[in-house]
Amino acid sequence: MPKGEITLRPVSELDIESICGIDEKIVGKDRPAEWERRIAYYLRRDPELSLVAVEDGTVVGFMLGEVRGGEFGLEETSGWIEVLGVDPECRGRAVGRRLLEGMLANFKKRGATAVRTLVSEESQKELLGFFEAGGFKSTPIRTLECRL
């Protein structure tokens, strides 16, 4: 894996294949239809918000989200981080942290006063640690679920 300066830029439709590749390394499955749908969604909503991290011309991480407000009893404009992934071969090099910093700055530019995300305490302990290190705290808002 090439090592160079990591830069951030907005995600584009040309990143779909790279993101598929990173996702496949993480989850072990090739999911092109899923990423085609998702990337098109984020491009439609706000193409300058979601970011990829690039090193030597190769996408090594991504973070996708959007700004919403008026849901779940939360009237304030909030940023939501919905998806992220870092190439496992690039872990430990602050790619995730750089992406988080970039996204927080983007959310702030768009008037968000808080940023939220959802993490599973059982299956995403590492991710929990990542967000806590980034200044995120648990909130009184509970996730409720009804299985169908």
């Binding site: 040309l14 085609e36 098109a40 768009r110």
Partner: protein, 442 residues
């Protein structure tokens, strides 16, 4: 969109654009009626002009870098104004021209989602044309130009396929695959032009670009996502769009995309005047690199779909063997994959204009041989259409010395329409003066 102010054109011009839309974008209301179904929670489309606030106030490139941007046309020299008006007219023409093209084959979309994505894209192109009209109408160009903004608006509204400024917008669509490949390849050129115009020394132009660029991002996805899906279906032997058809349509549009950048040697005056940050050749080279990446990703997708049980690494290795070494792997050959023609192929502008060069950029000696080649590598409907026959006729004239290649560049296909979308839309002014309030006579 944050930090953006919106405005509408004076009523008679706004109404003219609405009327134009009713003729050339008749499904506009259908789009709005189905907005929540296909674009839930997205900001609803509005026909208005947007200006980004808080942009850079100083000229960013060229001889006047560092000086304040021009806020009004009267602050420019006539030469500046002339370059700028050409760009605004070309931009407006491309926006409306593309709508006329897309409308021809919109109804043939095999998937409803793809159809509504294209329809949304068309509505946003209409807004982009409207945006350019706002630049023409909200400033007084008389001090620096013989052109009146309102006359240019009417002129662009009158344009039809065959009379638009740039060649790519005078080519008919023959199938919905044209709609999609056009979004992937030609809107991509549009993205470059908009990104370059973002640094325009004319502040209203630079402020117009960010909202247009945001909308353009989805237009590119409107092209790339269906092509990815079609490539995967083709690999599995399913679906209706084969790799051969996709290749022929890429061969049709990629050269027109390159032509849109203008002569590779040109663009220097735009950079000097602070209107764009790079010359034509540099921008075209970056565009080609992007399209090459797209083709590479599509080919990888093809191999993965064809061999679903191998890993990504193995698929990349197989692709390299097939594409770069020319080997056949389990029945897949180089001919099964997509490729980008050489940049010199089928060009009508620039250093390769009106040269008989094949897909690899190698010369073809004989016009009849060249025609046979083109019939093989272009989509059948297009290869036998008026645009192509006009091209062959001009090529014959260039070869015979009757016309110089540099003059052939300026001869538009100028297709005269037989019939049309609506008989009343020909040779009728779109902008209608409001009736003055009467005093009861008559």
């Amino acid at each position: 969109m944050e930090n953006v102010r919106s405005s509408t054109l004076p009523k008679k011009y706004h109404d003219a654009v609405v009327r134009w839309g009713q003729t050339f974008l008749p499904d506009y209301q259908l789009l709005l009626d189905n907005w929540e179904k296909f674009f839930p929670h997205d900001r609803r489309h509005e026909l208005c002009a947007y200006r980004q606030c808080g942009m850079c106030d100083t000229i960013e490139v060229g001889d006047m870098a560092g000086k304040p941007k021009f806020e009004r046309a009267s602050e420019m020299t006539p030469d500046h104004a002339s370059h700028l008006l050409k760009a605004i007219k070309a931009q407006a023409s491309t926006e409306l021209g593309s709508i006329q093209q897309h409308q021809l084959t919109l109804a043939r979309a095999p998937e409803e989602q793809d159809q509504f994505w294209v329809l949304r894209m068309m509505a946003e192109e209409l807004r982009h044309g409207y945006q350019m009209f706002s630049l023409l109408l909200e400033d007084d160009w008389k001090a620096v130009s013989d052109t009146k903004g309102e006359d240019m608006v009417e002129e662009v509204l009158q344009m039809r396929t065959g009379s638009h400024v740039l060649g790519a917008f005078n080519v008919d669509f023959d199938s919905f695959v044209d709609n999609i490949v056009f979004c992937a390849l030609i809107d991509r050129v549009g993205k470059y032009q908009l990104a370059m115009q973002k640094v325009s020394a004319y502040k209203p132009m630079s402020e117009s670009m960010p909202p247009m660029l945001q909308e353009e991002a989805f237009h590119l996805a409107t092209g790339v996502v269906p092509i990815r899906r079609w490539v995967q279906s083709a690999a599995r032997g399913e679906g209706y769009v084969g790799m051969d058809l996709l290749q022929k349509i890429i061969n049709k549009w990629y050269p027109r995309g390159l032509d849109m950048f203008g002569d590779e040697r040109g663009g220097g005056s735009n950079v000097r005047m602070g209107l764009k940050p790079m010359k034509n050749g540099e921008a075209a080279a970056q565009y080609t690199a992007e399209v090459e990446q797209l083709i590479g990703d599509l080919n990888l997708r093809y191999v993965r779909a064809r061999f679903p049980d191998i890993s990504r690494q193995e698929a990349q290795e197989r692709l390299a063997l097939i594409r770069d070494e020319g080997e056949a792997v389990e029945g897949v050959t180089r001919d099964d994959l997509l490729r980008l023609p050489h940049p010199s192929f089928f060009r009508r502008r620039g250093i390769y204009a009106y040269q008989m060069l094949d897909l690899d950029g190698k010369p073809v000696q004989d016009l009849e041989e060249y025609k046979k080649l083109m019939l093989r590598v272009l989509p059948e409907a297009y290869a036998t259409a008026r645009d192509t026959t006009k091209y062959f006729d001009l090529m014959r004239q260039v070869l015979a010395g009757e016309v110089k290649a540099q003059d052939a560049v300026h001869i538009l296909p100028n297709l005269s329409r037989v019939g049309g979308v609506c008989p009343c839309s020909r040779a009728v002014r779109w902008v209608v003066d409001e009736p003055t309030s009467g005093n009861g006579h008559g």
